[in-house]
Symmetry: C2
Subunit: 434 residues, 2 copies
């Protein structure tokens, strides 16, 4: 009796060619994060439920993979932020602040499986954590991180939307709707998705007076270029301290974002961006690929006052962003929009014509020593089958070694794309392949 | 009420400095695997228990992390071989054979926690899978993979021990102990660990006649250089087909290993190497760091006739090796024997002396554009605190920017190791840092 080999629904498992593209994206994100000096972290996937769920509730708790092993109540991590909070508190004395870390790893959420939704998926997080305080310039640096990373992934036409929650929260104070601020933000965050009229309807459902709704709507729809918007915000001449703090921070962030070389065409102030999480307290970000708006935000995050309040009294403010790589890869692949071109691991397939295996092994070893990823075809097959193999694996070059090549100490190098073939010394072949 | 943030026992969680070393080892292993053209794979950590445990039993089953979620009986993978078997069977029609893949990922075993034993650990696997058949030359290539990978990790003095199980199995046929072959192999595999006398005692416990024990012992202790051993084996002039097949294969493997440029000093024939798994059917490998024998084998594996017999009738022979990275890192770190030197992510810390933040941001961005991992110090602290920060993070260079530097469009570059400081143009600083 054979068992049928199946993969669970909601779990991505790629064929090699797609896996190469996926890994390439992952590597480029990592390279970009490291370019900013973020330190790597790799926390366990399993944690004590008590620790992991210290803060959770509602949807998160229902989706969690939770189980007992021996006497332990265990859970699989559902994001990389809670493990970071745990890590920073636990290792506080051994860390240097500001603590800049990135983590790229799998997280688990038992959502109802549906197309493009995954139960196991990669998050790629960067955060900067301060000890007691953290300069606003970090909020600008985060925009530079997003900019550099999305560029590294091959995109040019994208917009990083920046807002500051203090502005919205201040506004809600002004119009006496502070108690509803989380709900209101959840609604206006959907402005683009559900449209103006539906936002107004939803706000009415919250029993917010029409006058207040008008104020909210006119405020979040302020138009203009970045500098104009900032000026319009200041022109309101609010008395509310929180709003003014938010506007001041936003202005600072924009100033430093420009100093960090992020072009104006790649960011904008967007007062509707609220991020549906009550976790954020200041700057918030969302990022859209303008040719693929339907994907939604590809990189989001923001500033928070306190990373680890469930574990410690220490004040640990931070700012960070995250890329949901599994979903992003899935969507881009579906849209045929992946901007990378790596297709194979091996750059060359080395194969004997007939009985020249010894020489093929020597040549293959020489190429590998020169750091050229090389596969040697070791099976006893017809030459046609070997070329077909290289073709299917999209290996760009094939080196064949026949009697003549052994005698002359040369190799025959074929470019699989152009079909061009040359007889060369091994050294010259290495130069071409490098 | 605060929750105490704790990490589960048996789960490795490193401080950044160690994590950098760990990642460096992982990256070097990956680079080495890719140099041979192995394709990347990334299978889910959670699988259906029915699929994952199709073959398991005994110890493995007891150690498994198994739980229910909704109606599903799920388990965490305990190795990367079963997922490979699943993958190859499931995607058979989409793969090209020989299928060469590597997978580096976490696996889970709920062992009793003890020092140096982990419940979550990385395995780094490479395997070559044939469709119906697979040339013996692949067994030699695997030795070249081990050799290249261990060298890449910075070691020179190591020995890859090679054996062929057909030789041992044939011998057990010869002495009429075939039914005990798995048990005998398990015992002689421990020869180095427990010594000759204990091996003999254990064999006696199996009720094996003294004459047979003598034959086993003299056989597995054949001495000499590789070629002498091969000759001695042939001199026995066995009539047993299996032994002769094993000797013939071993001889072939050694021949091709040499063609692949693996020096004789880094491998040897060792007839005691049996690998305690009845899974292997031909060539087997273990690898020892000669200065750190106490770690045990750091890279092991072998040839198997049939990868996926629990899922399919197709014959899928393969050969592969694995590195248990988490334990290896732990042991090497404990012995202060890690041969890599990367200590920080950022190569340089850029910091304003006082109010030169704008320029610092511009300079930092220029360095990052030149692909130099750069951290900009953004907090408002005394210059001494900034240097201390660079020191603690082991960042090798610090660039300071003061009034003079802003005026002259220069930077002050300090080498943190030598203490030497130079005033340079940004371009010259980039050249030095590259």
């Amino acid at each position: 009796m054979k068992v049928e080999p199946r993969t669970l629904p909601g779990f991505m498992e790629l064929l090699p060619e797609d896996q190469i593209l996926f890994n390439d994206m992952k590597q480029k994100i990592q390279n970009s994060y490291e370019k900013f000096g973020f330190l790597p972290l790799d926390t366990p996937i399993i944690e004590m439920s008590e620790v992991l769920l210290a803060k959770a509730g509602g949807e998160t708790e229902k989706q969690i993979y939770r189980f007992e092993k021996g006497d332990n109540d265990l859970s699989l991590r559902f994001d990389l932020t809670v493990p970071l909070a745990k890590y920073v508190t636990e290792h506080y004395n051994d860390l240097s602040f500001p603590f800049k870390r990135y983590q790229i790893g799998k997280v688990y959420r038992g959502e109802r499986p549906q197309k493009g939704r995954f139960r196991e998926f990669y998050q790629c997080d960067v955060d900067i954590i301060g000890d007691g305080e953290l300069s606003i310039i970090n909020d600008a640096e985060m925009v530079s991180v997003i900019y550099t990373t999305i560029k590294e992934l091959g995109f040019e036409d994208f917009t990083i939307c920046i807002n500051n929650r203090k502005i919205l929260n201040g506004l809600f104070q002004e119009i006496n709707q502070e108690s509803l601020s989380v709900d209101i933000m959840r609604i206006i965050d959907k402005l683009e998705k559900i449209g103006k009229d539906n936002v107004i309807e939803s706000l009415k459902d919250l029993q917010i007076p029409e006058k207040a709704i008008e104020q909210i709507m006119s405020f979040i729809q302020i138009k203009g270029e970045t500098n104009e918007k900032l000026q319009l915000l200041k022109d309101y001449e609010f008395k509310n301290e929180l709003i003014n703090e938010g506007i001041e921070e936003l202005e600072q962030v924009i100033k430093f974002v420009r100093a960090l070389g992020v072009p104006d065409k790649n960011f904008k102030v967007d007062l509707t961006i609220a991020r549906g999480l009550d976790y954020y307290t200041g700057t918030v970000y969302e990022t859209f690929l303008n040719d693929y708006r339907e994907i939604g935000s590809v990189c989001s995050g923001g500033r928070y006052d306190n990373l680890a309040e469930f574990y410690t009294d220490k004040k640990l403010p931070g700012v960070g962003v995250s890329i949901g790589l599994t979903r992003l890869f899935y969507k881009l692949n579906e849209l045929n929009a992946i901007k990378l071109s790596q297709k194979s691991v091996a750059k060359v397939l080395v194969t004997p014509m007939q009985d020249e295996m010894q020489t093929a092994l020597v040549v293959g070893t020489a190429l590998r020593k020169a750091n050229i990823p090389t596969q040697i075809y070791l099976e006893n097959k017809k030459i046609k089958a070997k070329f077909k193999y290289a073709d299917r694996l999209k290996i760009p070059y094939v080196i064949t070694i026949g009697e003549t090549e052994v005698q002359n100490n040369t190799v025959a190098l074929k470019n699989m794309e152009t079909g061009e073939q040359k007889t060369l010394s091994i050294e010259d072949a290495i130069t071409i392949l490098k």
